[in-house]
Structures are given as structure tokens and as C-alpha cells.
Symmetry: C2
Subunit: 452 residues, 2 copies
Amino acid sequence: MKQITPRTLSGFMELLPGEQAKMEKMMEQLRKNYSLFGFTALDTPIIESAEVLLAKGGGETEKQVYRFTKGDSDLALRFDLTVPLAKYVALHYGELAFPFRRYQIGKVYRGERAQRGRFREFYQADIDVIGDGQLDILNEAEIPSIIYRTFSSLGLTKFVIRVNNRKILSGFYALLGLAEKSGDIMRAVDKLDKIGTEKLRALLVGEELGLTDEQADEILRFISIGGSNAEVLAELEGYRGKNEIFDLGLDELKAVVAYLPEFGVPETNFAVDLTIARGLDYYTGTVYETTLTEHPEIGSVCSGGRYDDLAGYYTDRKLPGVGISIGLTRLFYVLSEQGLLSDAIITSPADVLIIPMAEDLSFAVQTATVLRDAGLRVQLYTEKKKFKAKMTYANKLRVPFVALIGEDELAQGKVSLKNMESGEQTLLTPAEAADAARRLIQEKECEKVIRG
Amino acid sequence: MKQITPRTLSGFMELLPGEQAKMEKMMEQLRKNYSLFGFTALDTPIIESAEVLLAKGGGETEKQVYRFTKGDSDLALRFDLTVPLAKYVALHYGELAFPFRRYQIGKVYRGERAQRGRFREFYQADIDVIGDGQLDILNEAEIPSIIYRTFSSLGLTKFVIRVNNRKILSGFYALLGLAEKSGDIMRAVDKLDKIGTEKLRALLVGEELGLTDEQADEILRFISIGGSNAEVLAELEGYRGKNEIFDLGLDELKAVVAYLPEFGVPETNFAVDLTIARGLDYYTGTVYETTLTEHPEIGSVCSGGRYDDLAGYYTDRKLPGVGISIGLTRLFYVLSEQGLLSDAIITSPADVLIIPMAEDLSFAVQTATVLRDAGLRVQLYTEKKKFKAKMTYANKLRVPFVALIGEDELAQGKVSLKNMESGEQTLLTPAEAADAARRLIQEKECEKVIRG
């Protein structure tokens, strides 16, 4: 038989079972937490008509799109979950209730240059709230709570949700007579973390932007406003009354900050940060970034914001919204690289491995059924191997429990349940073994997938 | 702005939120049940190198494959989950423990002719147990238990897992001196359900197969062997001792039947059925089909079998296995068409919709947080709409509970929790409301997604 060397394409993540178990746990937590905030699950095709997917056209993204023909159809793979959402809402408008809250965790495709840590197929985990014509500010205020609860449930403690409002920025730039350069300035300021103050200053007064020294100073002074949230907001109050857009943005920012305690978000995990703008002009109000305190080099692991026009390329209806996205594959990759994924969670395919050592398997199978009825994940190991090989298998899988059934156990209708961590071995009936195993498993299930 | 009419490609399933909720529940049940049998979750890329994916080559499948180039890479979308599994096991052989048990629920792609109920993008939900060189028969015996538990958990009661063994068939055909025509005869017999006995007979004695009348009679008599499992097995014993392969197959079939009671599979949901062969030559031992008793026209909803050589196109290692597959998208479609999906399960994005009617939202937000802490899925509805519009929203989402917070409730630190089904309304503290809502929600969560 002619053989082909098996391989997986570069830029495509394919995990070993133990790692995949951690990824599954992360996805499960995301689904669970997004659901707590009343988001409905959505699933849209990975393939769409190229015309529909690229309606907006242009830009870097289009070059990266996987596009091809099948028969006489011009097709493309989705490169994010936002465009398919826009299509979905425009297409099914009449059948949806607004505000429409959906989450989607799905693979997207970008033909990026292959390099370590860059993926061509990767999961995004998005939530969006879409309004019909209008959308109350409380939806924006709720987002930090969603981020906080989600990351906490994953096990992260040292992270900061950084929030700003684009109206404050554009209002402020208008104040300086820089309304038309507002977008370009925001994109420059957005680089502050990467390039530092000096280089940002050079960028502002440089040829391209052409600001005066005074304007650059004003901007640098403005974005350096710091302190507690209350202090930042107080200082911003000093600019009030000079520009309508600014004032509106300040009101929105204050509304977002106002309910944080009621939403259960500690002040330590939240910061008003005037340097954040998000690159995209798409955003029109509150913007969010989330950074790991001890790993700023990773950049934002959860970003998003408020937008006014989700689906202008498909419909005349005004569909404003607010959303955030987690680049799940990349997040998983960097957490793994940093050694931040916990080994305390159960990654084995089974909670209990049953090893029968007698000829008749009836009792072993009965035991498996009793344990499964109790919600335990069970493997029956009946391969013809030596005992040592069987235990090697158990160790390789890292199963928490082995249930041994030899002639002695069989005669008593019991199993020897061995805790693989402590080495402790107890003779128990199947029902007792189920109880004993469940206690430890339930404990382990509370372990978080990320440490730190 | 130039607008494009939004559309979804034909042959691609895109569900509305309520329907998607049912699909999500089905997937959750599959994950849960597959896990109970010690299968580990796997996720492989949707895009693979065309050379790797099409290593086996030829056949109907290849014509349907989505194949395209990106840069200078010849790529293809996976058309099933078996070929990627073969690649995975061959590629990661050294890092896996055998038997390797994996489940995968993922989208696959086939450019079928578009017609109602045919999908070009669809989910398969597969499990496989892969042995290294050998694999014990108990793995085959366990499969009916997995099918039984999975379908039962979905709510199906009237279904039959039909089991046969290809060795019995090929042994029997060898007995008749038809060893070389064995595969072709099996494919003909496989059509019995669709074409009936008379047409099958015509096919057997027809030009292509060219059997004698006596041979055809023998075959028809053989496949008509019926009755209880014990009766069928007893009748098969009559053929023992004439052909080694037959005898081996009979031993295997008896082993599969032997542990059914211990695996908790009722006799009513299981049948030895000598007419089943599965079309593919790939299968070498036990084969499985699962049919809905009252909807035979749907055909098998869960099929599979034992094979001896998973990855011969990638490796010299002998990797035998046994697996089954559910065509989830098609199953969902036909269940929906037949009206077999239950409306009793919760399909709303939230368990409780909080409707604040006072200016200050602090208490409403606090209430949301208390309910979420209790595991309830909560939406805060703060859009500026009339009360009637708010209740219309609640009804459209089909939320089980609405929590009203007016000035009266606020003054008492309570909410009016309205059960939307019974219409009953009770004044409760947030903690009491959480308890009350959870009781009903937990009840509803036990509802099965399929009726019958």
C-alpha cells in the first residue's frame, strides 16, 4: 500500500488528549459564564458566499481570507464571528427579539504568515448584545462583570479590565481642534504600551500627524491621567462643558463605572484607562481591553467595545451593539507557554479504570454500569496484557482511580478501589466505590484550569 | 453604502436561537454520555493537506471534497472524522496510550447535490476505540451500551440497535462457494430494507452477481432467521463447524450479546439482525445500525463497526478499532421535521428576565448578581420601552421567570417573581427568588430533548 507521511498543517493547533481536556474545560467555562448573562448559543456556517462575507471589502483581512470556488460558487471561510453575526441578524431580523444576546465559540480562518504562536485556524469566543435602533448603556456597564466572572471562573486572579470611551477621546481631540485627525491619533495612542511615551510624542508631532508641540503635550498630559477610578473621573470632570461628545462620553463612562460593585467587580480588577482606544473605527463608545497583570507582554486577552452600526453592509436598519471577543486558541497557547495551565485538574479520559483479572467479566461490567449510573466516567480494561502493563496504562492516562477485580474481590462481590494519587486501596461494593470516587472527583472538578 | 443581500448558502444549517438551544442540548448529552465510557475529547483541524486527507483516494467521496489552494498549498476540508483520526493516531502514536478512546463532535464537508435534508456542512459525532496491534472483543460488546445510554438520555425510547458480524456473513458465503462475491452480496443484502425480498432475489440471481437459484434461496433463508436473540444464536449454531471464519464470527457475536444485561441494555432495544452488513469493506467484524422503530424510513441514525486497519495509508502499524458515528445535523433535521423535538425543554437564553421599573438600577443589578451566583441565567432588561413591550420581549424569548422591580419592591428590598407559565407572582427577596427559580429550572433541566 502506498503510504503518505501523516502531518498536520503549520498554523493549525492539534492538541494531545491531556491538553485537549484543558481546552475543553476552558470552553465549558466560557459557555457556562456567557450563559449566566443570558446569551444564547449560536452556530453559523464556516463557509459563506464570498460576496456576503467580504461585503465590507478591502483591508488586510481580505488578503488573508481563504477563498475558493466549488462548482460555480465563489466561497470563503469566515475570518471572524462578527461578519457572520451581522449577516445572521440582518437575515433573520424578523424572527429575533431585541436586544439580541448571542455567544458563539467557533473556528475562524486567516492565512497569516506562519510563525510560532500565530494560528491560521483558531477559536474565537464572542458575545454581543445587538439593539434594534437603540441600546441602553447598562449593556455596556455589564460587560466588565461578564469578563470578570468568566476569567475568575477559569482561575485567573491577576488581571485588569481596562475601560475607556471613544466619545471622550474624540470629544477631547475636537476640543484641541483635531476632530478630523481623531481616528489617526487614537491609532497612534493605542500603540503607547508597545512604543512608550517618547516615541508616541515623536509620532504625534511627526510628519504624518503633524500636531503642534502644545497639542502633543495636551494629549500626553490627558492620557497620563491616572489614579483610582474616582480620581480619574473627577479629573475628567474638569473638561466638562466644552464639547458635547466629550460630555456624553463622560456620562457613559460614569454609568459603566457606577454599577461595578453591584455587578460584583472588585476595583482591583478594573481600571479606567484613557490610553485605550482600540484600533478600529468601528467602535463608537465604551471600549474594553483585558490584560494579565504579570504578563503585559501577552497584550489584551479579551477586547471589544460599543459600535453603532453592526450590519450596514446588509441592511438599512440601525443595529447598535456591544461585544467582546476572546482569541481562545492564542490565549490557550500563551497560557500553556507560560506554564499557567494547571495540572491539578483531571485530564484523564476516565475517573475510574476497571481492571478485571478473572475470566468472567459479568461483575466487572456490572460495576462499570453502577459507576456510570452514578455519573462517573469509566473505562473497562480487558486487553490481554500483564498486570504491570495495565497499571502503566492507568498511569499514562493519569486516572484518579483503578478498580481491581480479582478472584477474591469477585467472591465477595466487591472491588479494590485504588486511589492512584495516595496509593490507598480499599475493598468496597460497587455502590460504595461509586460514592468514594465521586467525593474526590467532585473536589477535583472545582479545580481551576488556569493558575494565577 | 453599497449593500449586499444577506444569505446563507443552501445545504448549510443555520438555526434560530430556540432551535439552536435544542441542538446544544443534544451535543451536551452526547459529550456527557461519550465521556461516561472513558472517551477523551479530540479536536482536529477542519483543513488538512489534500495529499494527507485523500491518501486513500478514489471513490464518490473524493468528487465531493472541498479542495482548493492557498499560496502553494493544496488543501482540503475534512469530509469525515475517521481519516483525521487515522492521521492523528499515526502522527501522535508515540504519545498516546492504547487502547485509545476518543470522541469527536465536529463539522465535516461534502459538496453533495443540494436537496432538502441534504447538508454540505454537517456535524458528525464519532467515537472510536483504537487498539495497538489487537483489541479485545469487550470493546465491541460495549458499543450497544453506549448507543443505548446516549439515545435514552436524549429521550428516545423506541429504537433498536441492530447488530451483526461480517465474519458470519463472509463465512456463510464461503460455505456456499461464494467467497469471492462476498462483498458484492453483502452490499446487495444491505439494500433489503429498501427494495424488499423479491427485488433482492432478482439482484442475487441477476447478471451482475450470477448466483444460482439454490444459492439465492440459501441466502434468503439465512437472512430471514429471526426471533429472539437467543433463538437466532441457536439457529446459527446449526452452521457451526463448517467454516472457521463463520465460527469465529459466531463466537464474537455471542460475546457481544453475552454482557448486554450487565451493560444495562434491555432486550427490547437490541436485535441480532443478519441482514445488516454496512456497505463498506472497511468493516471486518461486528457491525451496528440503529433504527427508530416508528420511523424506519429515516434509516440508521447511528452506525459503525469493527475494523482491522485504521491507518494503513499512513503507517505499517496494525491499528484495529471499533467505532460508531451519528450524523448529528441530519438527525436533528429529521427529528425536527417529524415533530419529535420537545418543546418542554428550556430554550430561552435566560431563566430569569429582570425588569427594573425604578430609576436607580443598583438593586436590580444586585439581584442579577445574586441570581447568577446561584447558577441562574439572567438578563437585565433596561431598554426604554413601555411595560407591555417588555413583557412581549419576555414572551418572545419564552423565559420561565420575570422578576419585576418597581418602587414598591425597591422599598422592601424584594422582587415580584412571576412564573410565566402559571402566571403566579410572588414577592420575594433576591435569595428567595433564586431558590424558587432554581427549583423549577432544575426540574425542567431533566426534560429530554427528544420525545419518543
